[in-house]
């Protein structure tokens, strides 16, 4: 059936239906509390050594659940985190749009650092970059392991999904963007990150 034959009454029904879906779906289909950056609790939690100072490591991932109104995020330090600033940022898949960014003073060993002041949502089925950096070299944090020398090339086989970003950070603060990505395969263990709303 073509649209030419639709009466105003039909268009009205279509509009009402679309409005109802638009009203219901965002709250119904996404987390309104918290969300692991990986879709669930990670099976491996290892102490990972971070990149050189202000080098930004990034991982692209397709969101499988979605979350509405992220305001904060957290990570956990490793055994020797050092003293400095840790930055996190979230980007559109092309690196053109920065969804959010924040810094936090690197906390003591094996404790949580919480980034605040974020304000964005992640949509189910859409790909996003998670990027992280530190003002100091070789800080440690909890992430995947061991070194993904095998999985890295696989991730980057058809598209860049594990990369360093340019420009990098400045004193631990992520750039405003846009950013570009250079595929990387070693020393890229992903940081474990937990996202949260204002009421996580």
């Amino acid at each position: 059936m073509g649209t030419a034959g639709m009466t105003p009454r039909w268009w009205g029904c279509l509009l009402v239906s679309a409005c109802l879906l638009g009203t219901v779906l965002p709250a119904w289909a996404q987390s309104t509390s918290f969300l692991w950056w990986s879709p669930g609790p990670p099976a491996r939690v290892r102490s990972v050594t971070g990149p050189a100072a202000d080098v930004m490591h990034c991982r692209l991932r397709k969101e499988t659940i979605g979350i509405t109104s992220v305001t904060q995020a957290a990570y956990v330090t490793g055994a020797t985190p050092g003293t400095g600033t840790m930055g996190v940022s979230f980007w559109s898949s092309d690196g053109q749009t920065r969804l959010g960014a924040a810094t936090v003073a690197i906390p003591a060993a094996t404790t949580a650092g919480v980034w605040t002041g974020l304000s964005f949502s992640l949509t189910k089925g859409t790909s996003y970059w998670l990027c992280w950096c530190a003002s100091i070299s070789s800080t440690t944090y909890r992430g995947n392991g061991p070194a993904p020398t095998v999985t890295g090339p696989m991730l980057n086989h058809t598209a860049t999904r594990q990369a360093t970003a340019s420009p990098g950070c400045s004193a631990g603060a992520p750039p405003a963007g846009p950013i570009s990505f250079t595929p990387a395969t070693t020393g890229m263990e992903q940081m474990h990150v937990l996202l949260g709303t204002a009421t996580p």
Partner: protein, 201 residues
Amino acid sequence: MTGVLRIVLACALLVVPARAAELIYLGTDGIPQETNTISRTGSNNALYCADLIPPIGITNATKLAFRGGVAVSNTVGIAVYTHAGACPETGSCALVSTTFAGTIANDTLNVVTGLSAFSIPDGTGEMVRVCHCRSGGASNYRAAINVSTDVGTLRTLWNALAVHAGLAVEACSAGTPPGFTGTLSDDGSTNAVPPLLAIGK
């Protein structure tokens, strides 16, 4: 009228969840790659829980499998709760399945069938709470984590923004889980890491 019906049907198809599975795992970020035995500590009948946001759901589940157990003459309880509304704040989360309450040997595969049908939301972002307890004695269970994983920092991150893995206000009774959990508190134990559950129809 026919056109209106077509629109209604189209909308209904859009709304109906499309990915409900025949089998899902709770306690992991996908198909479990490895497991580790958690030796359960804490008081008898203490209820430990973890909140999960399953990426894939299941409808009308009636079966469940987990690996773990309790010393003979004691009872282990495992239960799944859903968060209708604001469960962590109000303690009003509802029990959807008492999956097991019985006496079994430690580190044994337990398959439970004939459960009252229950459903897990399908990637909607709704939280599910997985809990376990035991009436007494030594017990253990398998979690979907690597043997060398630092379980303590996993719990730290889980609770970094709010307590989503810990000891529940409500307790079990002779190893049988309560109807709702109440709020959770982080008692610093590794019991908060949830057991790996396979849920099927």
